[in-house]
């Protein structure tokens, strides 16, 4: 078996694909909260992707990729049996797993998949684990059965009310609190505004919040300094010191500004790529 080979490809919804990749060295050393860098082709970007699962025996790692730009769209067009060009990792500092008491693992969209291994490790460490899962609509809410099987309690919130309660994950957390659930710590992965408001609410409710940050990265190995974020007023590098940080004092607005820099370009390129991919040539020359 060649390294980087895609053993399983499973679409989870229209834009999200699960890959099981053969990569024994990473499978052997991965820990909850770490990520890998993927590259799909020569000249391709280095894309950081959270490790969702790993199996040291089989030598496999699992990642879940949402097509948000050209690179991720190209990843998701790879077929079973094909290979990623590069898979490097496991990168980042693992999440500190210990007995906190009762913990909430909060996932938004693809963040649900990313928070899953943290939930599992926290459960194994003897915590009472409550999953709070959020998405825009039911179709985008992934891995609920897996989370429900793992966690002591699972609540869902969708923006349109198509599944679980209608509202945001913050509404769900507030409700848990109002119902008398005493939560000690929260681990949040999702869109930046969701992590910002969840951290704020948790702080207010006396829950210690942690958020996994997704700044722009290049090498992902502690070299370029592109992923700098401000935590407790200090510059920290998410690729080596994070990506999970205590999130009470993270400057989320700065993170939003810094991650927005290439967004318009990303969107433009994705549209161009999809147009070219879907374009069936009728000129008769090909």
């Amino acid at each position: 078996m060649q390294e980087n080979t895609i053993l399983v490809k499973e679409p989870l919804n229209s834009a999200v694909v699960k890959f099981v990749i053969y990569k024994p060295l990473i499978a052997k050393s991965a820990k909850a909260g770490q990520f890998v860098i993927l590259r799909g082709r020569e000249g391709g970007e280095r894309v950081p992707v959270t490790l969702v699962d790993w199996d040291a025996q089989k030598g496999t790692i699992t990642v879940i990729i949402q097509a948000i730009g050209k690179s991720t769209a190209m990843f998701n067009s790879l077929k079973q049996g094909e290979k990623f060009l590069n898979v490097a990792g496991p990168l980042g500092t693992p999440v500190e797993i210990k007995k906190y008491g009762t913990v909430a693992v909060v996932g938004g969209g693809v963040g649900i998949a990313e928070v899953y291994p943290i939930a599992r490790a926290l459960k194994e460490a003897g915590n009472k684990v409550i999953a709070v899962l959020g998405a825009r609509t039911q179709e985008l809410l992934i891995l609920e059965p897996e989370m429900a099987a793992l966690c002591d309690k699972t609540v869902c919130a969708t923006d349109d009310g198509s599944h679980g309660m209608k509202g945001m994950v913050t509404d769900a957390i507030q409700k848990l609190h109002d119902e008398g659930e005493k939560i000690n710590a929260g681990f949040i992965i999702g869109p930046i505004p969701m992590m910002k408001f969840t951290s704020r609410l948790m702080d207010k409710l006396g829950i210690e919040p942690f958020a996994s940050l997704n700044p722009i990265m290049l090498d992902g190995t502690g070299m370029c300094g592109c992923c700098r974020v401000t935590v407790e007023g200090k510059v920290r590098f998410a690729c080596v010191e994070g990506p999970m940080f205590p999130s009470k004092t993270i400057d989320f607005d700065e993170l939003i500004r810094r991650t927005s820099e290439y967004k318009p370009l990303e969107k433009e390129l994705l549209e161009k790529y999809q147009h070219e991919k879907d374009h069936v040539c009728k000129c008769g020359l090909h």
Partner: protein
Amino acid sequence: MPSPSSPRQQGKQLDPQIRKHNFEEVAQMANCPVGVQIPAFIALVKDGKIGEAASKIMETSLLPAICGRVCPQEKHCEGNCVLKEKFGSVNIGMLERYTADTARKEGLLKAPVCAPATGKKVACIGSGPSSLAAAAELARAGHDVTVFEALHAFGGVLRYGIPSFRLPREVIDREIETVKSMGVKFQTDVLIGATETIKELLKDFDAVYIGSGAGLPTLTGIPGENSVGVYSANEFLTRVNLMQAYKFPETDTPIKIGKHVVVLGGGNSAMDAARCAMRLGPDSVTVAYRRSAAEMPARAAEVEHAKEEGVQFEYLITPKEVLSDENGHVTGLKCTRNELGAPDEKGRRRPVEIPGSEFVMPVDTIIVAIGQKPNPIIAKTTPELKTTERGVLALDEEGKTTLPGVYAGGDIIRGGATVLLAMKDGIEAAGRINKYLQGK
């Protein structure tokens, strides 16, 4: 990358008690840090024996096409050339480059013959100049060597830091091919300290050389430094050189450049960043350095090239604050002007702020090129390895780390130096590793 200048090298001189009895040249051409036999190789070039000249260089340095291009010759060989005062120095760097390139082109370049296999295995961490030099020397001594690179391409700073207009990518590829032809194995995507620890490596290898290089950038710490449009030189150069963002959208990694760019710093990385920025088409690129031209650590040729290409230089400037608009985009850099005060411990005159000299540079891209810290990953995951307060790996007087069988060199022990000094460390460490393995 950015290179605090090494002190001016004093050329080796014959002992006065010996030389007063003979007519041999007083200054010895032995001030090449990697020991290239300069008069010998130049004599062979003069005789048109290019292949032999290349072999002569490669007796001590296996990367001549790279050294000829990026070494700060004016601080070493050319700076100590006996012809310098009267006639100007021999262009030793260019001759080395010519020799390496011509020998390669004409098929005369021979990889050195390796000693019979010793059966010992050595891991070299990183594939930058230090590790490459160590790997080549260890292979020459007959060891079974594997190079582990964290990124997707080999060469380390040669690939992500130094631009192709100064060091063409094919030159790096070819020099690495030479090392490969000596039997050295190369692996990408292995980040030692994460993918495998040093302790795990020591189960499979008899010795380890850590040449993992520089890490996170040093930033100025001034307010507003996380504004959009502020790059570290590492990020800027990595985008352009490693990820080839200048070919975007043919390649997938983009880069944004404003109309007016300022580069903070005065080392080689600052020059590389300024010259790369110039090629991305802004209206102006300015290098702002806190001391004067005389203290700039960059290689003289790079400063000249930058000036020729239209890069402007502002000396005696200290950045104070990054100004930005409501979207966090850079709109300017608040600075003060300095004058030179008393010399510091390295003998460079310290910049002293002139009161009331505050002004704003109207820029929209800022590149911070003031140095970097050693990469933290290996030290963090290997508690047995001691580091100094600067975060660099601590070595004993024999060049060993605090873990038996583990040696280190280059920026991981220097914090930020030159390709040449990194190579020198690699070559010297290879010698120590040979000795260590003989006793094993």
